[in-house]
Symmetry: C2
Subunit: 476 residues, 2 copies
């Protein structure tokens, strides 16, 4: 069974079954991805206006054995949203399906279509005095369907979980074009296999998510943010533990940053105001949201005092206004853009058992020093054991002279992560970037089960071929 490229005849057929409005021009932006590693191809770009139209399209592709690459906001970092090789696919964009289908503030539930932009969902929740906590740097363009398909993480996982944990129900088009109506607004539903979580994180290879029932939360009564200078990643972990003793689930985010991040900001965005006169080696951003009766600034102050007495922190700032909170967050959220401007040789989205994090940083840094004069920007969601451990050329040089070392760097980092029982993809997914890593490090029994599931649900292999799993030779 082989897949077929989109042909003029096939497009003509689609024009017969889908409305004109669904056909869009393939702008170059649809064929690019944020890290510029690959160029995609698309025989046609289709943006259906309804779930039924998605089903019509997928059914037509299944009948003609034409590949379909689902496309959300295009912000994925592992190439899951584009097809650089193999038969030329239909690009299926959810951009026209952005409706909020319903909001139930008293149930803390919102039902939205897959093309809704994450930031717009934040605003919709805010309008009914609720919080939708999934948040990440690309929130202004990422779409919820893509967030769910990749099980996005971000800065609030510590308290609220990842995309998977924030979804109660899904509507999706399965690979044969049938519609699964699974938009339940239920907190408990033990009626059979967990198809919802199987589709979440399957990166468009098992179904096309068209809508989701999302969990909302009451807003914390008071919020606060602090930057604290820590002696080491180990001290940061002790500080996290102390913060949770003080505030329980009140700790919403706990982000570790390294001086390299501040250096990169200074080098690439010299106008940006940085919070420290003297850049510290390591520091953390702590964000808290507390119930009635507790003052966030006081709670952060008490934490700082106790942490200073214990020798964990040497300096710190507690935001005194909403503007200052934003400014602290801006440092954290602008670091990925600074990284892009510097240009990494190899980036790693890894996770480790929490207690293994300091040892990993020590060993990884030491091993990379042997390999070359690299700069390392290690930062991320320490509370989740999730580091973005990114390797850059020496100051003043570009990565062009170092791309030959990319594979060796990646191998070194991922081998170490694997040896320490970690994951080589914490929150970005596998996409096309890490297919070989999954083959190398994945559990063989799990991989066999994944292949069996893919073959069972998508026997022709039309949905996002080449993402997550290698395309079988007889389909190439």
């Amino acid at each position: 069974m082989t897949l077929n490229s989109v042909t003029e005849d096939f497009i003509a057929h689609l024009r017969g079954v889908l409305p004109e409005a669904a056909f869009r021009e393939v702008m170059p932006s649809y064929l690019e991805e944020p890290r510029g590693r690959w160029k995609g191809r698309a025989g046609v770009l289709i943006a259906p206006g309804s779930t039924e139209e998605v089903a019509t399209l997928v059914r037509a592709c299944a009948e003609a054995s034409v590949p379909v690459v689902p496309y959300g906001g295009g912000t994925g970092l592992v190439g899951g949203q584009l097809s650089p090789e193999g038969p030329v696919p239909v690009l299926l964009s959810l951009e026209r399906m952005r409706a909020v289908r319903g909001v139930w503030p008293e149930e803390n539930v919102m039902v939205v279509e897959a093309g809704a932009i994450l930031q717009d969902i934040h605003a919709e929740a805010d309008a009914v005095d609720r919080l939708f906590p999934l948040s990440l740097a690309a929130k202004g363009s990422a779409r919820i369907g893509g967030n769910l398909a990749t099980n996005a993480g971000g800065v609030n996982v510590l308290r609220y979980g990842n995309a998977r944990d924030l979804c109660l129900g899904l509507e999706a088009v399965l690979p044969d074009g049938t519609i699964w109506h699974g938009l339940k607004r239920l907190r408990k539903d033990n009626t059979g296999y967990d198809l919802r979580n199987l589709l979440i994180g399957s990166e468009g290879t098992l179904g096309v998510i068209t809508a989701a029932a999302l969990k909302l939360f009451p807003k914390p009564a008071g919020e606060g943010t602090a930057l604290m200078v820590v002696e080491s990643p180990e001290a940061a972990l002790s500080l996290l533990s102390m913060a949770r003793d003080h505030m329980g689930e009140g700790v919403s985010a706990f982000e570790l940053m390294h001086r390299a991040g501040l250096d990169f900001l200074a080098e690439t965005m010299p106008d940006m105001r940085l919070p420290f006169a003297e850049p510290p080696e390591w520091f953390v951003l702590i964000d808290i949201g507390l119930a009635k009766g507790l003052d966030p600034a006081e709670a952060l102050e008490a934490l700082f005092v106790e942490a200073a007495e214990a020798g964990l922190v040497s300096d710190g700032m507690i935001a005194q206004s909403e503007a200052q909170r934003q400014a602290f967050w801006e440092v954290r959220e602008t670091i990925p853009e600074a990284n892009r401007r510097i240009g990494s040789i190899s980036s790693h989205d890894i996770s480790l058992p929490l207690s293994a994090v300091p040892g990993f940083i020590d060993k990884g840094n030491a091993a990379l020093r042997e390999l070359g004069p690299f700069r390392i920007n290690c930062f991320g969601h320490l509370g989740d054991g999730n580091l973005h451990y990114n390797v850059f050329p020496p100051k003043g040089e570009t990565r062009d002279g170092y791309t030959g070392q990319r594979d060796a760097i990646k191998r070194l980092v991922h081998d170490l992560v694997h040896d320490m029982d970690g994951s080589v993809s914490a929150e970005h997914g596998i996409g096309r970037l890490k297919v070989d890593d999954l083959e190398r490090y994945g559990d063989p029994a799990k991989l066999a089960a994944m292949r069996a599931i893919k073959a069972a649900l998508d026997p022709k292999g039309i949905l996002n071929p080449g993402a997550i799993l290698k395309v079988l030779p007889d389909r190439q």
Copy 2:
């Protein structure tokens, strides 16, 4: 492809590949289930001492096409743990695999084997000043493997989630006898399809869970419990909303109870001390756990005052000691036993969108009144929209005279739940009791996907045949 009953020859073969200690006597208790609906059968009872022995057993069964029924604590309420018909199976008990493989208090993680009893896990967590929050009435005999296989719920789902939400990683034996080593201690891991959540809730039909990495939590600094008399289920929902405004995630449990529960306790356990002199129509148990700096009794008092002013509550008691907290909880946790002693005609473990709960109770009660002079005990986890809506004979009669109406009652309740976008199995699962309900109410696309997954992972259909999905005719 048909399945074969266990034969003497097959047992002899197993004795050649498994140690003597794994073979146990089939005591009658293994063939019973708490509601006494079915009698199981077992050709042999095997309790392996290790994951490798589980794998050896499953491989042997797969080769001989002999069915395997995994058995945990035997406390399941839908008959998933026993086989009343079809080829006689191997009963695979996890009771000898109870080890705690590791505890990492600083990571809030514990790794335990599947046969560990839930209450023992609570004690292990307590010993390192941590909380494992999954809790249910059968905690003294339920085993964690069964809790995970059925995605158990219980009283703390509101705050901490169900079994699925409390599991970071699994080790399991798949239907071909291979071992999936998935015991990750990671908070984030986006490396491929979510096999963990597919096995959780699959009720032993896709794999045998042998060990799990569980999430622990810091204990709340202070805990409190109150009983409050509410005017109606609607008032209870408003009270819940008010409680969450006051205390955010601090609300750990919010249990609705009806006077019928108190009546049943008085009738079946006359020595038990009940909390109300005058039994109220509706009341709730609220359990809270707060961070440092907040006094639980004060917080409950403040909530009561505001709720009384709003006309939501008319009476209440706040526990003044740990003993009183236990006494309040005992009322809630003894109601299932009182129900068993009265003997329900039909029991329903249902969930609804939160805002649909009051309407459901009104409509359900009215429709049942048309059908007969039944007593209804409606209670449960209101915070999750999960009701145990159980129908009993009139006072002084047994269910024997009413079993002919069982199907009509169940149909009436489940039709109404389905019409109101609810679930006919909120937390107990499908087992063998609700296979027909799943066929009737399940989404066809989801059912087709489930069947495809089952056939792909367990092509011979050896694992727990007849649970969740009907056995295909050619396997009967």
